[in-house]
Structure formats: C-alpha cells, structure tokens
Amino acid sequence: MEKNVVHKYLRKNKKFPHIWCPGCGHGVIMSSMLRAIDKQGLDRDDVAVVSGIGCSSRTPTYVDFNTIHTTHGRALAFATGLKLAKPDMTVIVVMGDGDAVGIGGNHFIHAARRNMDLKVIVYNNNIYGMTGGQASPTTPSGKKATTARYGNIERSFDICELAKATGAVYVARSTSYHVQALEKYIHRSLSKKGFTVVEAMTHCPTTYGRLNKIKEPVAGMIYQKDHFIMKAAWDKLPEEKREGKFPMGEFVDIEKTDFVSKYLRLIEANKE
C-alpha cells in the first residue's frame, strides 16, 4: 500500500515507528531525502544508501534501496569502493556530524579532494547523540555536552566551509525546520556530478537539547527558525549581529571533472 511518496520507499518489514526519539529531526531529513530521490526519478535499484554508525546512520535500515550500514566514520571509504565497482549507481552517503568530520574526518577531506561522485548528507545535531551526548567536533563553543559540562571551550568545525575548502562541487546547508529548502538542496545535489555535501542541521531534543535548554522538539525547531539566516541576508548582516546566528543556503555550485569519469577514461585509454 503506497500512501505517499515517503511511505513508498519505506521498508515495511521493519519495525515502525522508527527508533529515533520523539520529535527528532532525523526523520524529517530522511523524508526530505526520499522526496528528493522521487523527484529526481531514480529507480530504486540504481540508488545505494551508505551509512556509518550513529543515530543518523539508522537511515539505511528503513529505506528500500541498496543499503550498507558500515563501521564508524568509514561510510565514505565503503562508498568509494562501491562507486568504483558500480559507476552508474547513485551513491548517497548518510552520516552524522561525528561520523563525517570526527571519526571519519580524513575520509571526508580526501573524498572531497578526489572529487568522488558521492552525494553526502550530513545530519548535524551538534553532539554524539547515540552514545550519551559527548561533545562532537561541531558542538558550538560555549554549548554544553556531557563531556563539556561547563561549556565547550573548543572551536567548532563548520562542515560547509570544510567541504568548500577541500573541493566539493556542491555545498549547501539547511535545517529540519526549513524542509522545503532541504528537499530542494538534496534534489540539486543528486543532479550534480562530483562530491556534494548537504549539511542538514537537526535538533536533538534528548541530549543536546536537554543540556542546552532547548529540550522540547518544538523549541528546537523554533531555535532553527530564529538562528538560521539565508545566505543573501547573512552577507548583508553587520559583524556584531552575526553572533550566535548561522548562514544557510547554497554555498558552492561549480562544475569539476569527478574521479570516476577520469578513472573510466584512463581505463579506456590504456586498453590494448
């Protein structure tokens, strides 16, 4: 029974409701991803969803595509192998913030450097949610985590800036509140050839929210509504008003030859 686009791609033999906490933004991002895939008109046998470990990495369990649930931080390494073995397949890599730039940080920068044709969706909840709320590389300075009880003194990673600097061809950021924009960016990334990164900010009511006084799911979404500003408006904002606010939108949209095309050309050129 197909009720709507999202239900069409769910694995009905899995236990629903899913394991994510009540009001977790991960579900919203997953449905945006499914709608974007549907809009792109991809056959479900031509799509692979690869993930690492973490809350976000439960996504492949629920979606009816070719899926791999790999080890922590290594989703991009597995996805690289998969892409080279099956160059025609659209490989979507779903990672959490800790998975992408913490444990798998090196894989991330090198996949971007090589311009592997992978569609990365980073579910950024600013914390290691599944393991109990340890500070992740993206926990903003001053915010609390179970390993930063008095506030995080480290500087945090900006995933979009990192992706931009390392050579991604498409970089965008949206939130679980701005669903329509999120769907649009994922859809755009699916049509690009090369390493694309869509950073989807999500609220974590259970760990990050509870420690930082935004524990209601609705409060988490209102926080996103108030603190994320479209890039055009952000650029006009004076420096002193940027404090605590974040830009969202499309940051990079360029064309570059990807690794797989070069690799296939190399094989073709060296055939006897």
Binding site: P17, V28, M221
Partner: protein, 66 residues
C-alpha cells in the same frame, strides 16, 4: 478543494511539531492522549505537517473537485 487527512496513530510519538507549525491552527494537541487532533474545517491542505512530521504519521490527500 476537498481534502482527506490520514493520521496513523500508532506511528505518532506525540512530539507536537505538526500542531506548533500549522499556519491555520488546525491542529491541537490532546494533552491527555498526547496525540494531535485535526480540525478539517480549518485545514487548508498546505501539507506542512506532512513535510515536518518526523514519524511519517500524517498524510494530507488533496482531492480536486470533479
């Protein structure tokens, strides 16, 4: 325009996101049951609750007049 609201109660975790962001205030949370209650009269079938539902428990079906 006619519409049909389908709600899957067993999938709903009662987070209240649909009620909080409904532009017409057509959804209210039943405090006792912890589940949303839909007012079909007020609903304009914008589908924002369907888009933002993290549990895929709401489906708004639009039916054009014949």
């Amino acid at each position: 325009m006619d519409k049909k609201i389908e709600f899957y109660e067993s999938w709903c975790k009662g987070c209240g996101i649909c009620a909080a962001f409904c532009p017409k205030g057509a959804i209210t949370m039943d405090k006792m049951a912890g589940k949303p209650v839909f007012d079909e009269e007020k609903c304009i079938a914008c589908g924002l609750c369907e888009l933002r539902c993290p549990d895929y428990a709401v489906i708004i079906k639009k039916k054009d007049k014949e």
